[in-house]
């Protein structure tokens, strides 16, 4: 079994099966939660990729797992518009660590 998992809409993630990733096609938050839990408790998995649309449904779980498990969870961009979620998470982390938002303050 591959130790890279990808969670997302079937039509996007199915291509990665030929690349050799472990696929978790999901449609709603319940399925996504199950898939996340399966990956994180599996013990073999190293990286989880999750598409933006699905990540938005289970953002709390992702944040929790990122903190407690050694697995790297990475959010893939939305295929239509700019993904705000990954940048938002980065901004949150920066605020937590440095105390102020040093990345985007100038732009606003």
């Amino acid at each position: 079994m591959s130790n890279i998992a990808i969670i997302g809409e079937k039509e996007i993630v199915i291509g990665f099966s030929l690349i050799g990733f472990q696929l978790f096609p999901v449609t709603d938050s319940v399925e996504a939660k199950d898939a996340l839990e399966k990956c994180t408790t599996d013990g073999n998995c190293q990286i989880i990729f999750i598409t933006d649309n699905i990540a938005q449904l289970v953002i709390d779980e992702i944040e929790q797992y990122q903190r407690i498990s050694p697995i790297s969870i990475c959010i893939l961009p939305n295929r239509i518009q700019d993904s705000k979620l990954s940048i938002e998470m980065l901004r949150k982390n920066v605020e937590k660590a440095v105390g102020t938002d040093i990345l985007f303050r100038k732009e606003e």
């Binding site: 130790n3 291509g15 099966s17 030929l18 990286i47 790297s72 961009p77 295929r79 660590a97 440095v98």
Partner: protein
Amino acid sequence: MILTVNPNRMELLKLKRRLELAIRGYKLLKDKRDALIQIFVKLVQENKEARETFDKKMRECMNEFLLATLYMGENDQNSIFLFPQRKTTVTAEYQNIMSVKVPRFRVKEEGKLYTYGMIKASPELDNSLKKYHEIVPLMVKMAELDKAIILLTEEIEKTRRRVNALEYVMIPNLKDTIKFITMKLDEMARSANSAIMRIKEMIRGE
């Protein structure tokens, strides 16, 4: 705040040693925090730039793949995608950044990529698969950077709490207690002294 200790010389010595240790620890941790933040800021900028290019490329790949598979039926899709021969795995090596273990992934690929027949698949599918294949190292790199940011954030938070606890609680408390014990000891010495003087006076009076 004064700690609850017995005001004697033994305690005073112990507290002085603890204060010395606390100050040394405080200085070291402060240096660690500053160094961590320096590395963190660099990493964040790297992450942001990498993320922008990655998002753009990934979006192109996804759209191309969607277009390539648009006219395929469910059965065709299943026959092409359900039995992959390729296996991609990563092995993690850990790099030590200021005692934070940050993973570095190495990608390993085995098996054939194009396993489907020519009749059912379109040339666009070949192209989009090639693009997916080419973006894998970037994806792994992105995962690596994301994890590093999260690990460093936690370490900085922890270190900052420790520095603050030492600076605003531990060290002032120890200083207060040391002051309290010295004053108490001095007071005891003075009272003993005056008692002796009074006794001396009484003896001389007789």
